[in-house]
């Protein structure tokens, strides 16, 4: 930086200079620092599991088992029976006041219940809803995780946070077995606000006793949709 002599260098310049000084001269580095970093990255060892080992049905069973382990309620339903299944879940949960994001597919929701579409409500307005229904971008069987992104049918992050009940619908085709497969799939939309949800909110801060439901939704229901 060709600043005046008495001008102190910026914190940024100082820190970057310290880093370069700390690592010493780039002996044996080929090309620009960026090229050298890229080459090094491609050479990193990745001997862990990156592909699926289970069949489609086992994969769904694993996801369901892992979600239940977190205390979520899980059902497997066919595409044709989704509206009915939603209706049943809501009845069972005491008919919460339901919020939905924009962009849900036609014919998904049962006509027996009122759903209010998220119109950019304030936090206080969102607090008047006791439940929210969304789709998911992906699910990870090994870890029992649902992934939501700011996409049609999944909505913005606050909408799945403030209501106390979350009903999430995930298509069997979007269920990945491993974390690497899921990250691979999410890469194209990496810049969107993204939330990984593994069970209802929880804490183990007091005597390591797992308590379900602190600030996020305390109840999570999941419908896994298979063809038919």
């Amino acid at each position: 930086m060709a600043g005046k002599a008495d001008e102190a260098p910026s914190a940024r310049a100082v820190i970057l200079a310290r880093i370069r000084g700390a690592m010493g001269p780039a002996i044996g580095r080929a090309g620009s620092p960026q090229q050298s970093a890229a080459a090094g990255w491609h050479a990193l060892p990745r001997d862990y599991r990156r592909t699926a080992a289970l069949g489609p049905d086992e994969r769904l069973l694993l996801l369901e088992d892992r979600l239940r382990d977190y205390g979520a309620h899980v059902e497997r339903v066919t595409a044709a029976t989704v509206p009915k299944a939603i209706g049943r879940r809501l009845l069972e949960r005491g008919e919460p006041t339901m919020l939905v994001p924009a962009g849900l597919p036609e014919g998904l929701l049962p006509r027996t219940t009122t759903f209010t579409e998220d119109a950019g409500f304030s936090a206080t307005e969102l607090d008047r809803f006791s439940g929210v229904l969304t789709l998911a971008a992906a699910a990870i069987a090994t870890t029992g995780t649902l992934v939501l992104q700011n996409l049609p049918g999944q909505g913005r992050r606050a909408a799945t946070l403030i209501p106390d009940y979350h009903l999430c619908i995930v298509a069997a085709d979007d269920v990945m077995e491993t974390v690497p497969e899921a990250m691979d799939r999410l890469r194209a939309t990496a810049a969107l606000p993204t939330t990984f949800i593994s069970g209802p909110s929880a804490t183990a801060d007091i005597e390591m006793t797992r308590i379900q439901g602190v600030h996020g939704p305390r109840v999570l229901d999941v419908l896994v949709v298979v063809a038919g």
Binding site: M23, Y48, T142, G144, P193, T194, F196, D205
Partner: protein, 494 residues
């Protein structure tokens, strides 16, 4: 500005002195032992069900080493991408500068309140007292941090900061501070009380302050991993979000999360995945804060980077597994370490963040049993770094005495060579426990060593009576126990 109550390595008593106090507190020891046992058992189960765990650890280690080797490139890339996505990136040379940046940003919002997510980095820079002094009240929203804030206490663990408190103690704090005389003492009652106490603050407060688990160079994204949903509240609802992150938190690419998001939750809380991970990139219209700042903090990290033998300290992803596994931490709890970073990671990180000017007794707060190395998800060879730092301390202590001809310095070099290879280290431990001997046995060498550093190892051996290493080493015992855990885990799945 009152910093008096905060954990500050500059003013904290030496480890042996502080440890003596902790060791006398039976309730504290019981609480710490219980909590660390529970997490360790859970960790053992979920790690055992991963057939590729060792490959993941190796990938994690290599990834962290690679990132540090190209740290300048990745930080500039992160800055570029975060800025392009609408974020504002600030750089802070030290804690003071970081505090000033955050305080100015909060003041510029015109609000006098901020909601905070648990962040050891903001504890490290002692942000809350600085905000308080500027007339801004920061609400801690993580249950454990709330307990500590209301009880005017300090964190004792990096993942479960209030693990030294039991339910009755938490109830007393909540009863008093939330004016809830009828409050019950089940963990559920206490969590519910926290939910009610914080709810309107989440909905009302317009400024959020967070740390970060990872910064993604490739996308400019930020990752926060949490359990309760308080993090999501702080990251999503405010108008302004300020994230403070050490420069070591950067990862090269989005895909690298596939390694770290497998290693971290299983190591930290013994969960396959923690309830919530948030990933966001700059600002997104209609979703979350519309003003977003990242403060990149050096605070002596570049000095750690410059010390080749200690550089791997910066691999740390703050999972706390080494704390839970450490027989010393399990006896003393976290406060004895005089820093927000307690346990084995604290023993190597804190003195280095203090440029070896303070906390010199911490590298001695270890029996070098190697349990920390065994559980570390990114394979930091903590015993080796400890020995290197002991060497540095000795060098300083003997600065006026000329060259390092002392047999103790030699003994440490030898032990260092042993720790360099895990296989050799295991073998050495089994064959006569030699790793511990040159430093800790009470033979002539050991006594001279103790005499050298009065109040350090001397004090420690007095309170804990650290004899020769046990017949069965901790890691041998742990390996045995891990196998049991595996059997139990398999049964549960079937």
């Amino acid at each position: 500005m009152s910093l008096g109550s905060a954990l500050d390595p500059k003013t904290a008593p030496t480890f042996p002195m502080a440890a003596r106090t902790s060791l006398g507190d039976m309730l504290l020891r019981k609480n710490v032992r219980h909590a660390t046992e529970v997490i360790q058992a859970k960790r053992g189960r979920v790690v055992a069900e991963m057939p590729d765990w060792e490959a993941l650890r190796e990938a994690g280690r290599a990834l962290r080493a690679h990132t540090l080797a190209h740290l300048d490139v990745y930080l500039e890339q992160f800055e570029r991408n975060c800025t392009a996505a609408g974020g504002v990136v600030h750089w802070a040379r030290d804690a003071e500068e970081a505090r000033r940046i955050v305080v100015d940003l909060v003041k510029a919002t015109g609000t006098r309140e901020a909601i905070k997510i648990k962040s050891m980095t903001t504890e490290e820079i002692q942000l809350n007292p600085a905000l308080e002094a500027a007339g801004v009240h920061a609400y801690e929203t993580d249950l454990a941090e709330l307990i500590l804030q209301l009880g005017e206490e300090q964190p004792s663990h990096i993942v479960v900061p209030a693990l030294h408190k039991n339910r009755q103690q938490v109830r007393e704090i909540f009863r008093r501070e939330m004016q809830l005389p009828e409050l019950g003492e089940t963990p559920q009652d206490l969590a519910d009380a926290a939910r009610r106490f914080l709810r309107d603050k989440f909905l009302r407060v317009r400024t959020g302050v967070s740390g970060a688990n990872f910064l993604i160079a490739e996308t400019g994204g930020v990752v926060v991993v949490e359990s309760e949903g308080n993090g999501r509240m702080c990251l999503t609802l405010p108008e302004t979000l300020i994230t403070v992150a050490g420069i070591d938190k950067v990862v090269p690419r989005y895909r690298d999360l596939e390694v770290l998001l497998q290693l971290l939750p299983r190591s930290a809380t013994g969960e396959r995945m923690n309830p919530y991970n948030s990933i966001w990139t700059g600002v997104h219209a209609g979703d979350g804060p519309q003003s977003f700042h990242v403060v990149l903090l050096d605070n002596a990290r570049t000095e750690v980077l410059a010390d080749e033998a200690a550089r791997e300290t910066l691999h740390c992803i703050r999972c706390g597994a080494c704390q839970n596994a450490c027989p010393v931490y399990r006896q003393t709890g976290g406060h004895a370490y005089g820093s927000v970073y307690a346990g084995p990671i604290g023993a190597i990180l804190t003195p280095q963040l203090e440029r070896m000017d303070h906390a010199q007794s911490l590298p001695y707060a270890s029996s070098l049993c190697g349990a920390c190395y065994e559980v570390c998800p990114v394979k930091i060879n903590i015993p080796e770094v400890l020995i290197h730092l002991r060497n540095k301390v000795v060098r300083r202590e003997t600065a006026g005495m000329g060259v390092l001809t002392h047999p103790e310095a030699w003994a440490m070099e030898l032990a260092g060579a042993i720790f360099r290879s895990e296989r050799r280290f295991r073998a050495a431990q089994r064959l006569g426990r030699m790793a511990g001997r040159p430093l800790e046995s009470k033979d002539g060498n050991g006594e001279r060593w103790v005499g050298w550093l009065p109040g350090m190892l001397g004090g420690w051996t007095r309170v804990r009576d650290l004899k020769a290493m046990p017949k069965e080493s901790f890691r041998e015992w742990f390996a045995r126990r891990d196998t049991n855990g595996k059997a139990a885990g398999d049964g549960r799945q079937g």
